[in-house]
Structure formats: C-alpha cells, structure tokens
Symmetry: C2
Subunit: 173 residues, 2 copies
C-alpha cells in the first residue's frame, strides 16, 4: 500500500504524483500477488494447525520435525535437522525436547563425537507420523481441492523458481 510515484521513471508524461510507469504497475501487481499468496498460505496453515491440534494433539513444527526425520532412517544431527528445516538451532532443541518427552523421538549418542547426537524417530514416532502424514495429505487435497493436477504442476514449477531466486543452500546430513 501507499508507495508514491517512482523517481526512476523515464517518461514524465504527467506532472502529477499519480503518474504510473510500467515499472510501478508490475511492482504493484506483484505486491498484490504477494499479499494474496501470504493470505492463502496462512489460511491453509491455520487449518492444518487446527486439525493437527484437535485430531493429534500436535503442532505444525512438531510435524515438520517428524517429517524430516522420517526421511532419514539413520537419524539426523541437531545441526543437520535445523539445516534441513531452515530454522534456528535453539528452536529445534525445544521441539525435540518435547518430542523426546512424549517418546516419539530419541537422541542417540554419536560414537566418535561426544558433542553430537543423532535424533531418530522411535517406533511409536514412526507410527504416529504415518497416521498424521496420511491425514495431512487428505487435508491438503481438501483445502486445495479445486486445483487440478496440471495446474498444481504449473504452480510447483513456478514456486521452485521463486525459491531458487533467493539464496538456497539446502545442505544435507
């Protein structure tokens, strides 16, 4: 919103501040798009949080952590985990602490290195995650139900481009 006229315009056709260069127009349209993208994402996220809470007594961050661990049978080190999820180290500590309390994951000492530990899903954790993941996929299809297969593919590609535009380290274990 707001954002006056653009000083870098090449053709000052009109002297009024209401002048709109093509650059402005694109900028405004991208802003509009972003606001809608943010709103859509938040809506879907809110719905997911709500269902995860009601139906599984869990949260999205916990789900994210378990999803990451589910992809690595050998477990992940804390630093690798926060790297994969792209959240801060300290953040993951707390979430894993709670998952450990509930018996969904374990911290296994790494033999050679007394600093590090591998975080791994327990059997209970794997089972809980399997149930949640299945529900999760169903919810997404429900929430994005009117997006066709082809359209979804198109969107995925476009989002990939956006992701790649920003710096994308994407480190592994």
């Amino acid at each position: 919103m707001i954002a006056e006229n653009d000083v870098t315009q090449t053709k000052p056709d009109s002297p009024l501040p209401e002048t709109e260069t093509p650059r402005d127009a694109a900028s405004k349209e991208r802003l509009r798009m972003w606001l809608r993208m943010l709103k859509s994402t938040r809506r879907v996220e809110a719905a997911l949080r709500d269902r995860l809470r009601r139906e599984f007594g869990s949260t999205l961050p916990r789900f994210d952590v378990m999803a990451a661990l589910a992809r690595y049978d050998d477990g992940l080190k804390m630093s690798a985990l926060s790297g994969v999820l792209r959240v801060s180290n300290g953040n993951v500590t707390g979430i894993v602490d709670r998952l450990v309390e509930e018996g969904l994951v374990v911290r296994v000492q790494v033999p050679g290195d007394r600093r590090a530990s591998l975080v791994r899903l327990t059997r209970k954790g794997r089972e809980a995650f399997a149930r949640q993941a299945e529900a999760h996929e169903t919810w997404i299809s429900e929430l994005l139900g009117d997006v066709s297969l082809d359209e979804a593919r198109m969107f995925s590609d476009r989002f990939d481009a956006i992701i790649k535009t920003d710096t994308d380290p994407e480190q592994t274990a």
Copy 2:
C-alpha cells in the same frame, strides 16, 4: 509424504499397494505444490522479517497491524483489528501495547462505550509506516522479481480462489 493407496478407488485394477489412481496422482501433486508454496512463502517472509528488523527495528506482525490501521483513518477497535488480521484477540493486545510504548499508535476511548477503545496511528506512526511500506513494496518486487505483470495477475486470481474456498468472514469496523 507416505499416504498409502486410496480405498475409495472405483477400479481395483491391480492388487498391489503401489496402485495409483488418478485421484492419488492429483492428491500427491497438490501436496507437492503445497510444500513448495509453503517453502516459497516462508522464504519471502523470512527475508521480509530480516529486513524489517535490520532496517527499521520492527517486525512483520507490527507491520501488519500498522498496515491495517493505515487503511482506517478513524482507527479500529481491538476486536475489529484482530478480525481484519484474522489473529486472536489476545495476540493483538500485546502487539498494540508495544506499538503504544513506542508512540506509534494510541488507544482512544470510545465515547459511548467504556469497554471499547479505538486504536489509531499517531503522526509518528503514519510516517514510520509510510517509509516501511515503500521499502516493503520494493523488497517484494526484488524477491518476486521474475514474476511478470500478467503472471502476477494470474496468480492473484488463483490465490483468491483458494482463499474463497475456505470460510471467509472478512468483517469490517
């Protein structure tokens, strides 16, 4: 991820669990799309948070509140504010408290009703927001730079559809 075969399939052509109905395919593709959409949104949000913090010592929630207030010269009641932003009541209380401390907004008593108060931007708040909003638009264009005007329009429309699919009260002041 995970999500075994779909029980509701109409044609059990293959007895194996690896069977994939068109319904499965679309479901998986939508999940893929959602994960990318979430990732993109988080990337952009993270970038915005970072810049807002560094350049203005502020946060996205504060910015959101100020943006909402900027659209209502007469101010908004707390309940209307949380309604517009679609966040909990208690949430807004804290954010507004901090904005008041910094002199960016004020709480004005509503004449007829001693329960309610109107939250309004101060001059300082309006000026701060104007600067932030301008930078914000620039950042968005930077972050979504390779999205063309037409493409942005298309995305906007599509997101609108997603938003409309979920319940959309959108109350006003």
